[in-house]
Symmetry: C2
Subunit: 225 residues, 2 copies
Amino acid sequence: MRKQRSDGQETRQNLLAAAGEIFAAKGFRETTIAEICKQAEANTAAVSYHFGSKEALYVESWRHAFTRSLSIYPPDGGVKAEAPAEERLHGRIRAIMRRIIDPQSHDFDIFHKEMANPTGLLATAMQESMEQIFTGLNRLVCELLDQKPGAHEVQLCAMSIRAQCFGPLLHARCRKSVQGLPTTGLEPLLEDVEQLADHVTRFSLAGIRALRPRHPQQSHNEVGP
Amino acid sequence: MRKQRSDGQETRQNLLAAAGEIFAAKGFRETTIAEICKQAEANTAAVSYHFGSKEALYVESWRHAFTRSLSIYPPDGGVKAEAPAEERLHGRIRAIMRRIIDPQSHDFDIFHKEMANPTGLLATAMQESMEQIFTGLNRLVCELLDQKPGAHEVQLCAMSIRAQCFGPLLHARCRKSVQGLPTTGLEPLLEDVEQLADHVTRFSLAGIRALRPRHPQQSHNEVGP
DNA sequence: AAATAAATCAAATATACATTTAACTTATTT
DNA sequence: AAATAAGTTAAATGTATATTTGATTTATTT
């Protein structure tokens, strides 16, 4: 067994990085191997050599981006498991939002484009990845609602929260990538993720409480400013 | 001035219909003129002849789809302007959801793909169209919050509501278009739009009330089953 | 230093597709 | 019925781009 040349892994990494960035910006179909290779300072044949095909590079670059992103933004947002449920929710919401807004994170852009325009290539990889983020959120909602995981209310509330995290930020990202759009006056709101996270947390806690089976009124601790 | 041949307008309409359907399913770039023309039973040169280019057909087909959709699902959901604000909110939410879920409506699919993967061609057309739907919702939120249109709370709450309307349904649509995805057990929830609309209304009204400047407690009429 | 495997490269190949062209049909007008 | 304009058509053109090829370079081993 012979050692590999050192520059082999380097081009491979360069390709992964460039691919993540460009696939995120343009989606699978509109991305050309030529562009990726130019940015990675590699020859076009390098993709075929290192990954086999454009498709395989696509999948690998998604995994790469997601792994990176998950390690930087752990799903619990760094909030301790012993903290009150309200704070834990706030942590999770912040984690999702920070991840999406981070211009270095490309996994959500790729994800979004893949949802809108499925190639089918990421189906299983994404399914697994998303679960890592969402099951924790689901459990937390169970706890807040005081219900079993399967309950309709739980599914619906979790859905409401997820949607509020994704929607506005993807919207913001999109606006940036198209120039010449008239501004709507709510751009500053979208810039301030912390404020957005506070809002979604408060809004959602109120929504959850409204659905909770009537109990002796419990902790109404608010989270946020 | 000479009369036009009747079959001209017919192919034109066929092209618009086919284009809406296929652009919605595949997005601009992955759609080929050949496929549209095949479905419209027209020659490939017909696009050039009737619309000038693929780009122009794209824009026209969006307008066509949106106009149709708006006339079938008026933004107020058919709820009278005199009805209580809670019911009017319910109506608007239902209208958005029904429109998205209708398999004959292609405007939201095109919209979504354009957001994810902007061609830039629809920027202005979409801006105008969306406003028709959203300004009404914004005014309503103002009323519910008892605040001025520009207030941060209003923008944030309106955003929360919009996100809850779009997110789950687009999600549902996407799942249908990719086969071989493991089911998650929450598909039935997504099928039942009315239930979903009820949930989002209730959840959001609670969220809004939590943000409302303290007043003598007012009408707490619930909407839904 | 020679041998070898890994990696890179420029150029060639092949395919997919939007658009154009110019001939051909069909309906309407005079 | 001849003339004309609208509309349709098959085939041709040109461009973009994924992938392959075979030669070439580079680092490591013997």
